[in-house]
């Protein structure tokens, strides 16, 4: 399967801080770049997504930055809250399926 490299594997951030998770992909044919959030015991749920015609998308405290030339995209969580503690997956889409990264476990401490 096509690779999507995600880092870091785990992340601890203080409440109010900025959480940053990075992903890199290989296939330039990908044209859809979502982030999914997964809480323990639950299935992943779509958080935010971007298409390659824009370099940034913001929804509330969550921002995706996209660098097409570098084949990289990142998730920024501003003013991180304990309720943001979850596992985050980046994914790449093209054609009929999504290819997911290996996930980042985020813990936001008080």
């Amino acid at each position: 399967q096509q690779q999507v490299k995600q880092s870091p594997q785990s992340l601890i951030v203080q409440k109010g801080g900025i959480s940053i998770i990075n992903c890199a992909y290989e296939n330039t044919a990908f044209d859809y770049f979502p982030w999914y959030q997964q809480f323990p015991g639950k299935g992943p749920a779509l958080l935010i997504a971007i298409r390659p015609d824009v370099s940034e998308k913001k929804e509330g405290r969550f921002t995706i930055s996209f660098n097409k030339s570098a084949k990289q995209f990142s998730l920024h969580i501003m003013d991180s809250q304990p309720g943001d503690s979850a596992t985050y997956f980046c994914a790449t889409g093209g054609g009929n399926k999504l290819t997911f990264g290996t996930g980042t476990q985020l813990k936001v401490e008080l």
Binding site: V4, Y32, G43, P44, G93, N96, K97, T99, G101, G103
Partner: protein, 116 residues
């Protein structure tokens, strides 16, 4: 219910036994996906259905794995002669259109399989 439903939520089986995992997608969703999530790892694509057909089975790990979908609704993932490396959470997801192009996958809570 409004979401994707999977059963059983937990399954413990002995090595060599067959297991069946069931997925009820959101009504009207034509696309259905199976992914596998091993402990501490990402989501591994297994198979995709469009209607009752499976155009992409490229992720099935071996011929012990098979899946079917009937009535453009329920899907069953079958693992024959289970091995310990099959232990994982099996996630089903559905979408209105193609996940890679048209957007959101709606996941169930998964079936946790433990092979002893």
């Amino acid at each position: 219910g409004a979401g994707v439903s999977q059963s059983p939520s937990n399954k413990v089986t002995e090595k060599g036994k067959d297991v069946e995992l069931r997925c009820d997608p959101i009504s009207g969703h034509t696309a259905l996906y199976w992914y596998r999530q091993r402990l501490g790892q990402g989501l591994e694509f297994l198979i995709y259905f469009q209607g009752n057909s499976a155009p992409d089975k490229s992720g099935l790990p071996s011929d012990r794995f098979s899946a079917e979908r009937t009535g453009e609704s329920v899907s069953t993932l079958t693992i024959q002669r289970t091995q310990q490396e099959d232990s994982a959470v099996y996630l089903c997801a559905s979408s209105v259109g193609l996940a890679g192009v048209q957007g959101e996958l709606f996941f169930g809570e998964g079936s946790r399989l433990t092979v002893l």
